[in-house]
């Protein structure tokens, strides 16, 4: 998909446009023969979830180039086909069909949001093409679907990690303010479900819209609720940054604020500014790679990824790009393992993934677990002086 293919790309583009103008649709045939392994991806590169899709897109392109420069997989080059769904599930669904029927990809690594992923699942299940999703919600892999996998930690795990930490600090009365986007709503539901397991009582609940610019009204209500010991904010995008700033504005910083893994990028700290100090969140090792002990098995992977990404993208690393990294390499390993580009065989190999060291954790999948991560993959971080710090277990 990079420069060496540009000519073919242009010819195809012209053919496509011609076809559309003359016959309505036809003529846009497949442009490549089968000497490459085609991997597809549908990402939300633009739109409200672009902060997920953009680093995912950059990561996939960066590493496919690297893999091809090193000779490809099983002697064949990888050809990456990326479509941007703009966060629109209906568009994503059409691109899924396009990848399967027109581009005839072996497998797909993509689906930035749970909404787009869920819309695409029926297409991939029906076509029996493996689909490694980069979306957060647990419903992607629960119930387990034969061809669907995912790399990011689930929202349920994030809730558990937060509640575990709250329990260690003996907090039981918690307020929640969640985004009404897919991520926030899904994590909110999971948190409500598992709160009882940790003896947590949700004493106040507020929401905000994905495009809201002021959450002081909601936070004022939480502030006015008696006995709140901590506040949890399931949400992603710019919303949590505004929540954090409003939180400080209202002088609520005395009460601990927990964000989710949905804000796990440096840009959150930058956007929230000094208000972010003291905020805690569960996140992958990637964010604190340089602070990990050398003995940590993930250290090498995350430090290398961080350096490669930041050098190429000229922006700070986020865990979202890391999910794409994990998905791509789980797939590449599976193709190597199957020594074939047959979708069915590749699927079987993905399911056999064992001890894969990724940016998100150490992945061991099984027929009943298409995620393969446990709570240990999450680290509890606190923001201090504008940077992530690992908190001591139990504090």
């Amino acid at each position: 998909m990079k420069i060496h293919n540009l000519n073919q790309l242009n010819r195809r583009a012209v053919g496509c446009l011609l076809g559309i103008s003359v016959f309505g649709l036809a003529v846009c045939g497949p442009a490549y023969a089968a000497e490459t392994i085609k991997i597809g991806s549908v990402l939300s590169i633009t739109g409200p979830a672009s902060f997920l899709g953009d680093p995912e897109d950059r990561t996939l392109k960066l590493y496919v180039d690297k893999i091809n420069a090193a000779g490809g997989v099983a002697g064949k080059k990888i050809e990456l086909v990326v479509y941007d769904d703009g966060g629109d599930a209906n568009k994503a669904r059409t691109f899924a069909t396009r990848l399967i029927e027109d581009d005839k990809v072996v497998a797909m690594v993509g689906g930035s949001t749970t909404g787009t992923t869920m819309a695409m699942i029926p297409a991939f299940e029906e076509a029996k093409v493996p689909f490694i999703s980069l979306a957060g919600a647990i419903e992607v892999v629960d119930p387990v679907r034969k061809y669907v996998f995912k790399t990011p930690h689930t929202d349920k795990m994030a809730c558990e990690k937060i509640f575990e930490n709250l329990k260690q600090r003996s907090f039981t009365k918690v307020a929640m303010i969640s985004g009404t986007d897919g991520f926030g709503a899904s994590m909110r539901a999971q948190c409500l479900k598992v709160a009882g397991d940790y003896g947590i009582q949700i004493v106040a609940e507020e929401t905000y819209g994905p495009r809201d610019t002021d959450m002081t009204a909601q936070l004022t209500k939480i502030k006015g609720t008696a006995g709140v010991q901590a506040v949890v904010n399931p949400g992603f995008g710019q919303g949590p940054a505004i929540v954090t700033r409003n939180y400080a504005q209202l002088g609520m910083s005395g009460t601990p604020l927990y964000q989710s893994h949905g804000v796990a990028s440096k840009s959150f700290i930058e956007l929230a500014g000094p208000a972010a100090d003291g905020v805690r969140l569960p996140a992958a090792a990637l964010l604190v790679g340089d602070k990990l002990p050398d003995s940590d098995p993930q250290k090498k992977v995350v430090v290398e990824y961080k350096q490669a990404y930041e050098a190429s993208a000229k922006q700070p690393v986020s865990t979202f790009g890391g999910h794409a990294y994990d998905g791509l390499f789980i797939l590449v390993d599976a193709i190597k393992g199957a020594n074939s580009a047959d979708s069915g065989k590749v699927r079987d190999e993905i399911e056999k993934t064992k001890g894969f060291v990724g940016t998100g954790g150490i992945v061991t999948m099984s027929p009943t677990d298409h995620l393969g991560l446990d709570l240990s993959a999450f680290r509890m971080l606190e923001i201090k002086g504008g940077d992530w710090t690992l908190i001591q277990p139990g504090s």
Partner: protein, 311 residues
Amino acid sequence: MRHWRREFSRRHIDIGGRYASMSEFLQFFFSGLTVGAVYALVALGFTLIYNASDVVNFAQGEFVMLGGMVTVFASAAGVPLPLAALIAICVAVAVGLLLYWLAIAPARGASAVSIIIITIGASIFLKGGAQVAFDKQFHKLPSFSGDAPIDVLGASILPQSFWVLGGTLAAVLILYVFLEKTLVGKAVLATSANRLAARLVGINTATIMALAFGGSAAIGAIAGILVTPITLTSYDVGTMMALKGFAAAMLGGMGNPLGAVVGGLLLGLLETLGAGYVSSTYKDGFAFVMILVILFAMPQGLLGRRTVDRV
């Protein structure tokens, strides 16, 4: 009934509670005012263009985006903030003029809905351009006078809120003086009232409309610059701004600058008071239900032009 009475008396005895609810209300009120001030500025932009040219410009939100984004990127490049803001206003004005000359003026005589589609196309175009020219990240600007909240009777208000409110007030006053006290301003009103007669007294209506697009772009950009330190910005904040600004303009009564301001502030207050007292989940719904109710009662908006039929 008895329960209600008990509740009522309990509230009156609980002085501390009353104080808390008062400061709570003020908090809602000031937040609503700040948010509403931005809607008001966007609505004002809608009004200015609508007045001069009868065009409802759905690319209005993109001016807000440009104001914020250009300031962010200019100041990141080392330009001092005031200068960066000035550059942003100039860029927005240039885009507004180009929008008029390249897309609106050539479509003269097309139906209102065709022109709306053109402005929607322009909005997609500008968003697409910003995504390429800048990036897809969220950005912030430093507050103009620090982040230490000011306590007003128990409500914490950011200094930037006063900038937003003051800026809105200044923009409204300037626009008022321009429209009511200058001949060119009256020419804008004349163009909106009767295009033919305006041309017959020698008003260059094309220039007036370009002026309206430029001025409207400047107002939008100012809104974007003032509010970015509070709300953050990105290449695609425009759609929501246009939606809310349009709602505010209609609520106040399309074509009336004072109505735009009243509509904007009211919409902001409806949202925060809705979130505070009704339900944060349904706050947008609450705001729109109120808009529908008001429009059913007053089909021309709160301060709408009482239609003087145009011949």
